[in-house]
């Protein structure tokens, strides 16, 4: 399959165009069309998963074309284990989110068109190997996200949408400056990420440090790392269910993906210098801070949002350790968090659809009313707690194992979150699902077939990856080991400036 990455990226875009041409009243047809255009990318992602060569860290399925030669901007697509994992996650979550959006009644056409645009942007981000191209895809996601939150969101949707928009744009502006700095630092000037990585040895330490910081802030906003995280709870609370899923499931991963794709291989010296404070310490703080904030929430979605902050802290900590276990655990955690938090948001969405509120104290005893739902929910909750046998356990253990070698003190603080996580998860579970049945919701219908269809695949993945994590680990190990070694083996460039040479 030549150009598979291009197809994956642009099929949703074609879907968008197609939907825009459909009459706005044909809601059912629009939904089905949207679903139809997310299935081929999923199949292609599975094909990629099957045919990906796991033994090499080289980029695969490469495509390369000139775009704007005068500025040496190219169209380069390609994947390694890291990106394939993320693409798989994206392709998996998109059809599920379309299913989760089935109840959208207002502006159906616009909703699904924007959703497909978002899909294209996300896939593109993970495929792009030209920094400029990457940046375009990165920014393209902002717009649909703004509208999807702003039009189809909750009560304070406008505030949440613009906050998300401004935050992310602030980050990407810094990224653009860093991108141009890298471009001009290389001779001949280029955006080709492979070349930028190959030349990493020639970047001076000062240059690396500043570029690293600019990139990092851009990515940290997406992760979101403290103190750049405050857009997240607002955006999550206001966004419609499917968008929360995408936001937490895919968009947050882009921050950590960016760090691994740019900061690590391109700026290894700076990474060595900054990893402790900017990634490890901050990540640990994220873990504990997010967990404690989650505990105090009264809104289910907000709780899950803060839990995301906490769980993404593991990713930061894991990659900072620069151990094989830590970095693999970090990326596995990205995938696992993507699936688990998606489940959590979908589950909250299910009852929100029925009750039209999400107050933790407003329910009670749902376990008796909706047994099937509760069963799936328990899997998701315990997976989020990192229960052994479910997927997140492996990634958290790998991260913490790596963290211990890196810094036992941080590992102890980070590991303490296993207690906090259990605390807030179980407390919420108790308040919402257990206890006496709230008469108001005594006749709430259990999950229907559509809802099972969107939840079951994720539940299966969560269980399977707990038992057979190598489905993902095999995919990422080679690539991540190579990235890790780049950082570990980096040495400052040989001084070639005249000032250093002259007596």
């Amino acid at each position: 399959m030549d150009h598979i990455l291009t197809y994956m990226t642009f099929i949703p875009l074609a879907g968008m165009a197609f939907i825009l041409c459909m009459p706005g009243g044909a809601t059912k047809a629009i939904r089905l069309t949207a679903l139809g255009f997310t299935i081929p990318p999923l199949l292609m992602a599975l094909w990629l998963f099957a045919n990906f060569d796991r033994s090499t860290e080289a980029m695969q399925f490469m495509e390369r074309a000139q775009w704007i030669p005068s500025f040496n901007i190219q169209y380069i697509m390609g994947v390694d284990g890291l990106s394939v994992t993320m693409i798989l996650l994206t392709a998996l979550l998109c059809p599920i989110c379309i299913l989760a959006s089935w109840n959208i009644e207002k502006g159906v056409k616009g909703y699904f068109a924007l959703f497909l645009l978002l899909d294209a942007g996300m896939t593109g981000v993970f495929c792009a190997l030209d920094f400029f191209l990457f940046y375009i895809f990165w920014e393209v996601m902002l717009l649909p996200m703004y509208f999807l939150i702003g039009i189809w969101g909750g009560a304070r949707r406008e505030y949440a949408a613009i906050k998300f928009f401004l935050y992310t744009l602030a980050g990407s502006v810094l990224m653009m400056i860093a991108m141009l700095a890298l471009y001009f630092y290389n001779e001949p000037h280029t955006f080709d990420m492979l070349v930028l990585m190959d030349n990493a040895g020639t970047y001076s330490r000062t240059f690396q440090t500043w570029t690293w910081l600019a990139l990092f802030i851009g990515f940290a906003i997406k992760i979101p790392a403290f103190p750049f995280h405050t857009w997240l709870p607002d955006a999550h609370v206001e966004a419609p269910t499917a968008i929360s899923v995408i936001l937490a499931g895919v968009l947050l991963k882009m921050g950590t993906y960016g760090i691994l794709r740019f900061c690590y291989p391109m700026l290894p010296l700076a990474t060595q210098d900054m990893a402790f404070w900017a990634l490890a310490a901050l990540g640990t703080w994220n873990i504990v801070y997010g967990a404690l904030c989650a505990m105090a929430q009264t809104d289910m979605k907000k709780l899950v949002a803060y839990s995301s902050i906490s769980h993404m802290g593991y990713v930061m900590l894991g990659m900072a350790t620069m151990t094989v276990q830590g970095i693999n655990g970090a990326v596995l955690q990205m995938f696992n968090h993507g699936t688990i938090t998606a489940m959590l948001f979908l589950l909250v969405g299910v009852i929100y659809d029925r009750a039209h509120h999400r107050r933790i104290d407003g329910f009670g005893g749902l376990a008796s009313v909706m047994p099937v739902y509760t069963g799936i929910m328990v899997i998701a909750f315990f997976a989020a707690m990192g229960l052994p046998g479910l997927s997140a356990f492996i990634s958290e253990v790998l991260v913490l194992l790596g963290a211990w070698q890196y810094s036992p003190g941080l590992a102890i603080v980070a590991a303490s979150a296993v207690v906090l996580t259990a605390g807030y998860m179980l407390w919420m579970l108790q308040r919402v699902w257990l206890g006496p049945v709230n008469e108001e919701y005594a006749s709430m219908p259990d999950v229907n077939a559509r809802e099972i269809l969107m939840l079951a695949p994720l539940a299966v993945i969560v269980i399977v990856l707990g038992v057979y994590p190598h489905a993902i680990l095999d995919l990422i190990n080679t690539s991540l080991t190579a990235i890790n070694n780049t950082v570990l083996s980096a040495v400052p460039p040989v001084a070639s400036l005249p000032l250093d040479v002259l007596p």
Binding site: K163, L166, F226, P227, H229, T230, W231, P233, D234, Y289, L292, C293, A294, M295, A296, Q297, T298, T323, V324, Q325, N328, G329, A367, S368, P371, G375, V378, F382, L387, P388, G389, F393, V397, L398, L400, L401, W404, Q405, P408, I412, A415, V418, V419, L420, A422, G423, Y424, L426, W427, Q430, W433, L434, G435, P436, V467, Y468, P469, H470, L473, N477
Partner: protein
């Protein structure tokens, strides 16, 4: 991807049978979870029970088969492994989904599947009015799976799967009647307190792994560890020998799971679950996981005498304090719960003094008599329509003779009456404790007396005297069905005779049990020689104090020579109050750990919404802080920072607008002033 490390010097047997020991209960659980409602509506409660009991018994049969095939091997090659699939292979971390069966696992699995099956059968009788029986049986089976994984897992990581898995099942079963807030709170407490232990356990595993890594080769696989741990000698972290740190971390895990000081608080609350659950999980099997873990890693703990000292001291304290609390409880299950904590203390005393086999031996005998006691209590509770307060019981021996006799036998066993199972195992521990330090023996000795006292207090309050239940309940009092009584009888028989597995040499036995375990746990040599007379003397002393305890209980609760009330008033009444309130440990934790965490979380959430975002929302945040202080913390600190910036920019916009007055003169002034300033600045240089 198959494990490349082979242990060359031990002949390893492999058997694909092993995996089915845990998998069959898992299958049973899966069937009941997915199809349970349908089975129950078609075939009734019996259908789901049949699935559960069947899978549990099948597992038991497999264990027995494995056990005998193990016996057939040479004493030093009694190790069967079954590697199912590769699990995690990242860098130096190589762990498979693999099971191992050796004498220690054999003992544990026999207890788990044997007693587990009995309790499954009992449950069918006990849960006779339960509409969600399918869920109950599914969870019981899932528990069996997790517990079997815990003891059969061939690596620390897989053991941890079981370790947390049993915690999950425990949580779900404590809160089985989830409509009641008290039950689910107890479940949460159990899980979270256990998680604190698990936190320690994980850290221990990490430290062990990396220490081994820097010593040459890392591993988490049990059969590889003994050969590797030698490299840890002389290594230190934060000035402490790593072996000591590792074992201390692991012991934190054990205190959580096995309810030792300071993490014992969850176990009494866990009695909120159905009584068969208390019997299986919170008495016979799960809570002994900590003991098993130390037994499994005895070679490591043996290298850390300091840790063992800590273990022994904590264990002795737990045994003693839990026993004192048991005196003052009126809830029949609470008494048994504290008794369990206390007996677990005994097991840890054994572990702490290096008498590994003695600890495991007590684990086995305790499983029999404590399961029997719990099930007997369950039978009583079932008959009393879920009344658990002993003050409302009495005279039940007339109504339920089989329950009474089996209960009495188990009580005799736990009190340590010579010839019963408890006598042999407890004396083995006390003797080893004495060899280590007479002070430990004194603690154990006193606890034995108290144990005898509160057990017989329980027996006398429940089964003797006048029935204090109200008319309605008394009319319906009846002996429980055969589903419940037959397991009681079998367990009672076990309580009487299980002790003969390990009759010590002093009493003419060969201590076959310890001998059987020796290849796995080894034994620590004690310095010095002690006369047989001393051993007999100590034995007599402990029997004597147990008798004294029984006598005291008889005098108070049957003969009423003293009133219980006057006893409670001793010392101004405060010892009784302290016992009754469990030394106020729950209150202490509530005020410190719980309050601290919740306070911190509230503070952080407030900080997040007010300061961090507030610096973006600025002026508005001032009012919001006011609102926060008055209790509504859902607004803004981290978020505040962000909003402050936005507000500041916005305010600046207002300033710029004000300069744009609309008056030409202003505009021209601005030009002239700025140009003049620029000229001035430019020519200045």
């Amino acid at each position: 991807m198959v494990d490349p490390h082979h242990v060359a010097d031990v002949a390893v047997h492999s058997s694909q049978l092993l995996r089915w020991i845990p998998f069959i209960p898992l299958l049973g659980a899966a069937v009941n979870f997915l199809l349970g409602t349908r089975i129950q509506s078609r075939a009734g409660r019996g259908g789901v029970a049949a699935v559960a009991i069947g899978s549990s018994l099948a597992s038991f049969v497999l264990v027995v088969i494995s056990f005998f095939s193990l016996l057939a091997f040479d004493e030093h090659s009694r190790l069967v492994i079954d590697t199912v699939a590769p699990w995690v292979h990242i860098g130096s971390l190589n762990v498979d989904i693999g099971f191992q069966f050796d004498p220690l696992s054999a003992v544990m699995t026999l207890v788990i599947t044997g007693i587990g099956s009995l309790i499954h059968i009992y449950s069918y009788g006990y849960m006779d009015e339960e509409p969600a029986a399918w869920r109950f049986f599914a969870l019981l089976n899932l528990f069996m799976f997790a517990m079997l994984t815990l003891v059969l897992g061939d690596s620390l990581l897989l053991m941890f799967v079981g370790w947390e898995g049993v915690g999950l099942c425990s949580w779900a079963l404590i809160g089985f009647w989830h409509q009641d807030h008290v039950n689910t709170t107890a479940g949460n407490k159990a899980f979270i307190v256990n998680r604190i232990g698990d936190f320690g356990f994980l850290l221990g595993v990490f430290l062990l792994f990396w220490s081994l890594d820097s010593a040459g080769q890392a591993s988490m696989v049990f059969r590889e560890l003994p050969a590797l741990v030698g490299g840890l000698d002389g290594m230190a972290l934060w000035g402490v020998p790593v072996v000591t740190l590792i074992t201390l971390f692991l012991f934190v895990g054990a205190t959580g799971k096995s309810a030792q000081i300071p993490l014992f608080v969850w176990l009494p609350d866990a009695m909120a679950g159905p009584t068969p659950v208390s019997a299986l999980i919170h008495a016979a099997t799960m809570v002994t996981a900590g003991v098993y873990m130390i037994g499994r890693l005895s070679f490591l703990f043996a290298m850390a005498p300091a840790t063992l000292e800590v273990v022994a001291i904590i264990a002795a304290a737990t045994a003693f304090f839990a026993a004192t609390i048991g005196i003052a409880q009126n809830d029949i299950k609470k008494v048994l719960a504290y008794s369990t904590v206390s007996q677990l203390g005994y097991m840890f005393i054994a572990m702490g003094v290096g008498a590994w086999a003695a600890g495991i031996f007590h684990l086995v005998t305790h499983a029999f008599f404590k399961a029997c006691l719990f099930l007997g209590a369950g039978s009583v509770i079932h008959a009393m329509h879920h009344e658990q307060d002993m003050r409302k019981m009495g005279g039940l021996r007339h109504y339920m003779p089989r329950t009474f006799w089996t209960f009495l036998i188990a009580a005799v066993a736990i009190a340590g009456v010579p010839g019963t199972a408890g006598f042999f195992s407890k004396d083995e521990i006390l003797w080893n404790a004495y060899l280590h330090s007479p002070a430990l023996w004194v603690m154990g000795f006193l606890s034995a007396g108290i144990t005898a006292f509160y057990m017989f207090r329980l027996v006398f309050m429940t089964f003797y005297g006048e029935c204090r239940a109200d008319e309605h309940i008394r009319e319906h009092l009846h002996e429980s069905s055969g589903w419940m009584t037959w397991p009681l009888i079998i367990l009672a028989v076990g309580s009487l005779f299980a002790g003969f597995l390990g009759v010590p040499a002093a009493l003419g036995g060969s201590n076959a049990f310890a001998h059987f375990l020796e290849p796995v746990v080894g034994h620590m040599e004690h310095s010095g020689h002690h006369s047989l007379a001393l051993e007999y003397g100590l034995m007599a002393a402990s029997v004597g104090i147990a008798g004294l305890g029984i006598l005291l209980a008889w005098l108070i609760y049957v003969k009423k020579v003293f009133s219980a009330e006057s006893l409670a008033r001793i010392g101004g009444g405060w010892p009784h109050r302290v016992f009754l309130n469990k030394y106020y440990v729950d209150e202490l934790y509530g005020a410190t750990v719980l309050r601290g965490t919740m306070g911190l979380s509230t503070l952080f959430a407030w900080f997040d919404r007010t300061v961090v975002d507030g610096v973006v929302n600025g002026s508005a945040s001032v009012t919001r802080i006011g609102a926060t202080l008055s209790g509504a913390f859902d607004f803004r600190v981290v978020d505040g920072l962000v909003n402050f910036t936005a507000d500041a920019i916005h305010a600046f916009g207002g300033v710029v607008r004000r300069v744009q007055t609309g008056s030409l003169n202003t505009y021209l002034y601005v030009i002239v002033v700025v140009v003049a300033a620029v000229l001035f600045a430019g020519t200045w240089n």
